[in-house]
Amino acid sequence: MAVTALGGTEAKRSLVRFRKLEDERWLAFVLLMPTALLLGLFIAYPFIEGVLLSLSDAKVGDNGHFVGLANFFKLWNDGIFWTSVWNTFWYTGVTTVFKLGLGLWLAMLLNRHFRGKAIIRAFILLPFIIPTVLSTFAWKWMFDPTFSVINWALLHLGLIHLPINWLGNPDLAMGSIMAVNIWRGVPFFAISLLAGLQTISPELNEAAAIDGARPWARFWYVTWPLLLPVTMVVMLFSVIQTFADFQLVYVMTGGGPANATHLFATYAYQIGIVSGLLSQGAAVSLAMFPFLFIIVVVQLLYIRRVEVR
């Protein structure tokens, strides 16, 4: 008797539970729960923790005390920090221009029918697919001071007379890192922009051609405006990834020579993890946030404007 009664309420309860899932609000709540839990625990919580950490003087093995903005004042007077800020902007700006230009060019080259197109497209994306650290090691080996294959080629082409120390000279090191970033990023731009190009009806270009528009004018007045929304989204992702880059610099130079090639992320790693000054490292990382925030807001507003138009 008791058993059946219990079973009855149990069944009724599970029925109630399922009926609740019929309500869209409850279903949505249940479906979003796992995501909210993981993102809350490992993004929102670390963010708050990071802010608190950057306002303390914690080191490895020492929880530290609240020190206000002391870490940020310290950064303000830190030459290497300003070098990394400048490097990050320069790195992001230059590589984005090249990735966009070369990516667009490659996309245009691929946007027609020819034999072997599918296989070429598949191979072209490889630099983007292969784990960055691993392919960057190949580049580091190609830039090796004594055994650089690039130097070998340049010497044999008669373009240089002495081997170049690509990663040992501060200016060249930054340029070399940029080259690798561009190499890795161009395929992503090309494939995304190619998808954008394929949504543009060829009739529009043909109509413009019949009206007498030269190829350059056709690109500038027909293709480019239609491609702009996709371009902006691709840029948004690329700019953020580049701005917050770590792997490339870590492998190529580790921030050297003489701290000349640090970005926000590598400098934060250098201070926070290698030197163990957690609070200061967290401050360097967080200093990236306002810039990222502005970049995202500006780009999203621009995307909205482009899409409305």
């Binding site: 869209e24 479906l31 995501t35 993102l39 670390p46 946007n111 292969i130 784990p131 161009v186 990236m288």
Partner: protein
Amino acid sequence: MIEGALWRRWVFYNIPLILFVIVLLFPFYWMIITSFRPDGELYKPWNSPLYQPFWTNKPTLEHFVYLFEETDFGQWMINTMFIALMSTAISLFCGVLAGYALARLTFPWAGSLGTLIFITYLVPQTLLFIPLAEIIRDFRLGDSPWSLILTYPTFLIPFCTWLMMGYFKAIPKELEECARIDGASRWKAMLFIIVPVALPGILSAGIIAFTLSWNEFIYALVFLSSPEEKTVAVGVTSELIRGDVFFWGSLMAGALLGSVPVAVVYSFFVEHYVSGLTGSVKG
């Protein structure tokens, strides 16, 4: 496309395209040739006789042997595979559910929640790695694969959710309504009608999530410390460089083998990968 004479086609299309392909693929060729080349040839001065930079007549497996006998490379591969598969599974599960809710259900704050997830999509890992390392330590997850399995979803879920939202939105409402009229519950309609239709999207999201977690570096670098727990990227970086000495042959062999799983998955599902990538861009 409007094209002119044959020479124009070569100058404006074929030659630039060939140059692009050479530059984009050369580093991989160099990786392969280096990993099969004996040390004696790798570190040979250029002015020595019979110097051939682009080919070797004495291919060797010594670098691969070194990798497996002197380092934990096999273990790193297993670790990376386990971490990538687990975090992909978790992210797909969460992303499909959340994507469905955000794309097809009406509830308060649906719009702002969608925006919030898009914003987390844009949070780079380098912003939070230091406080996250502290949290991982507090949870006693340090130096264990679970530290990565649980944190990788933070950048994979937003991506999967965003991609799945696009796929779910494209499925007509009528499909679900038919099932509901035939007596299926909401839950069942989602599980048996909508999810199967969105399977290509789930496959795309899964493949990209797998390659992204295989590619992740900074969390693995910071959270793992013992050699046998490391992932391929971290292990290769820390164990094949001793001070200033780079074991280039083994480094390239490791880079080559470490790329194989990703390359294999990619080669089988190129179309899914590309459609996922471009789908995520179109939003």
